[in-house]
Amino acid sequence: MRHPQMRTAVFLGGLVFLAAMFMSCQTIKENIGTLTGGKVTASDVEAVEKTTEAVRSSFAEITEEEEYYIGRAVSAMILTQYQVYKNDAMTAYVNRVGNAVVIHSDRPETYAGYHFLILDTDEVNALAAPGGFVFITKGLLMRCQDEETLGCILAHEVGHVSAKHGLRSIKKSRLIDAFRIIASEASKRYAPEKLAQLTDIFEDTLGDIAESLIERGYDRKYEYEADQLSVTTSARTGYDANGLLDFLDTMVGDSSTASGKGWFKTHPSAEDRIGRVRKEISSVSAMPGKNEGRTSRFQGAMKSLR
């Protein structure tokens, strides 16, 4: 290099580069401290730094595959509590309605797709586990008058999946702990100690979801959001979203569902939802109407249920 200016420029450039490197490492270290509440040893920090680019911090960063494993386990819990209603024709029909709605939702594809199953109980309930495992009870099916209502109810459940309401109910501290362990391990096979820790967190994570999904019910705002998603998704599918109102109307003042588990222990009151759903429907510019052909195929499918 013969030009002194060029040498200076290269030197300065090098300095800027080193400063940038140092600053980014510093930021990483600070963030690790913040994320873990400072309860980490020096070796922990070192381990995490090695894989810093993989450190995640919120439910939104749970991968599709992890969501699938969470959904599988939540579904296994549900299917341990309830018997499956064995009726292949009806199950196939529910899956067709479900998939018609799914492809018009905000999230048509998940890791292993959406699957719908009927639970053999008179309880009036529907549940969706993360990743797309959707359950509807025989009791709730019996309340549906037509395909529109069934479509709207399934669209409500698909809305819970697409908006990740299940994953949102996982306590943040648990995710941070899990992400730290995952990031500290380079291989896909976990050593016994880490596997035990990760499985502990997995169990607690399932507990968080089961508590809000099965026991306590989702936060009201998630129920309203799922209703709103149901209206827009149903309309896009070609279903009359008034089907959701038809169903909610049957639930007003129904004391049989107020106790025990079910949509109405776990949801805001029917009256409360009807008002909001009505408003939502009025904002859809051209709502599809009901269709005789659909209603008659619904009735045909339901014959095997009664």
Binding site: E53, R96, A112, H115, L198, E203, R236, N291, G293
Partner: protein
């Protein structure tokens, strides 16, 4: 055409190729398996099946769908919810930007809550009904079945929708 304008044309050509290379995006499949379809519709016939981690080249996009070419040279449409976007082609990126994008589905594939964690969880909770979950996963609606269902019911573009 004189020499100068021929040179300008050549330069323009090179620029177009460079821009095209920069824009040519590689999409990586993030779901267990998905179809490449003839048309940008879920009930359209599949032209290829892709599994998690496979990459395709994006050719164009349209309302939530990407037109892609697979490594086998098959062209078709894939839905945006099945792929990870935002990873530019290696040729157009420097290394620092590649590593910046590793906190993603592809880098984390098989990690975290995985089969091994599920197996450990199962061994701790023996009574759980995973068999029924596996049976549930086998219930599928084919594109053809879905198309007939929408058509018969006058749903979506077959009738009732806006």
């Amino acid at each position: 055409m004189n020499k100068a304008s021929r040179f300008k044309l050549l330069l323009a050509g090179v620029a177009v190729v460079c821009v095209a290379l920069l824009l040519a995006e590689t999409l990586v499949v993030k779901v267990q398996s998905t179809f490449v379809r003839k048309e940008p519709k879920f009930y359209s016939s599949p032209t290829a099946t892709l599994t998690a981690g496979e990459s395709v080249t994006q050719l164009s996009s349209q309302a939530g769908w990407f037109k892609v070419r697979t490594s086998q040279g098959v062209e078709g449409w894939i839905h945006s919810s099945a792929v990870q976007t935002g990873k530019l082609k290696v040729a157009s990126m420097d290394r620092s930007m590649q590593t910046a994008a590793t906190a993603d589905e592809v880098a984390l594939a098989g990690k975290g809550f995985n089969r091994q964690v599920e197996d450990e969880y199962k061994s701790r909770n023996k009574g759980l009904n995973f068999a029924e979950v596996d049976r549930m996963l086998n219930i599928k609606v084919s594109p053809d079945e879905l198309r007939r269902f929408l058509m018969d019911g006058k749903l979506a573009e077959f009738g009732g929708a806006r």
